[in-house]
Amino acid sequence: MSQLSGYLLLSAFLFSIGLAGALTRRNAILVLIGIELMLNAANLNFIAFWRYGPHPEALTGVMFAIFSISVAAAEAAVGLSIILAVYRHSRTTDLDKLNSMKG
C-alpha cells in the first residue's frame, strides 16, 4: 500500500461518489455536481501520477489538470445555463419529470 495507491484509491472513491450522486439524485444541478466530482477524481489521478511518475519535470500531469479544470469550468457554466433554460421551459429541474423529448 504505497503513497500513490492511496491517492488512486481516494480518486476512485471520489469518482464512484460522484457517479452515485449523478445516478441517484433527482435534481439536475446535483447530477452536474456529481459529474464535476468525477472530473476532479481524474485530476487527482493526473497530479498523483505526475508526482510519482517517471518524468515529473515534463509537467504533463499538471498541464492536463489545469486544462481539465478550465474545461470543467466551461462545462459547469454551460450546463448550469442549460439547466436554467430547461427550468424556464418546464418549471422543474427534476430529472424524473424531465423525460419527455418534445418541448
Binding site: A12, I29, I33, D94, L95
Partner: protein, 171 residues
C-alpha cells in the same frame, strides 16, 4: 500514509459524500466546496501549488457560487421536494459501488502502480507558464477558443427570450 494525507483525504471524502447525500441542495453545495478545498490541499501536498490554488479559485470561487445561483433561481432549495433520490436509486448505488470495487481492485492489484520515488518535483509558476507558452501552446489556444464559445453559449442559453420586450417596457 502520512498523517496530513489521511486528514485531507478524510476532509475530502466527508465533504464530497455529504455533497452527494444531503437533502438540502445548498448544504450540498457548501459540502462540495469543503470537499474541493480538501482536494486542493491534496494537490498542494503533492507539490502542485498552482493547480491547488487554481482549483480553489475556479471551484469554490466560481463553480460553487454558480451552482448556488442556479439553485436560487430554480427554487430547488425549498424543502417542498418530497424525496430527493431518483426512481432508480438502488441500481444507481449498486453500479457506483461496483465501479468503486473494480477501480479499487485495479489500483491494488495494479503492478504498474508502484511509484518511482523521486524527490518532490517543484512546479514553480514560471515553469508552468513556460510550458503553457511552448509545449502546450496549441492546447492553450484551443482552450481559449472553447472558453470563449462556452461564455457566449452560456450567455445565450441563460438569456431570457422576452428580455428585450421587458427592457422596452421599462425604459
Amino acid at each position: 500514509m502520512t498523517i496530513s494525507f489521511l486528514l485531507l483525504a478524510a476532509i475530502t471524502i466527508i465533504g464530497t459524500a455529504a455533497a452527494m447525500t444531503l437533502k438540502n441542495l445548498v448544504h450540498c453545495v457548501l459540502a462540495l466546496s469543503l470537499g474541493l478545498v480538501g482536494l486542493a490541499a491534496l494537490y498542494m501536498q503533492l507539490g502542485a501549488q498552482f493547480v491547488g490554488f487554481t482549483q480553489i479559485l475556479v471551484y469554490v470561487g466560481a463553480v460553487a457560487i454558480l451552482a448556488a445561483f442556479a439553485i436560487m433561481m430554480t427554487r430547488s432549495a425549498d424543502p417542498a421536494v418530497s424525496h430527493v433520490v431518483s426512481s432508480f436509486r438502488a441500481s444507481g448505488a449498486l453500479i457506483a459501488i461496483l465501479v468503486f470495487a473494480v477501480l479499487a481492485w485495479a489500483t491494488i492489484s495494479g503492478t504498474s502502480a508502484q511509484p518511482i520515488l523521486t524527490a518532490a518535483p517543484e512546479s514553480s509558476v514560471g515553469q508552468v507558464g513556460a510550458a503553457l507558452m511552448h509545449r502546450f501552446v496549441l492546447p492553450l489556444e484551443v482552450i481559449g477558443l472553447l472558453l470563449t464559445a462556452a461564455l457566449i453559449g452560456a450567455g445565450i442559453l441563460a438569456m431570457d427570450e422576452h428580455r428585450g420586450n421587458q427592457n422596452r417596457g421599462t425604459r
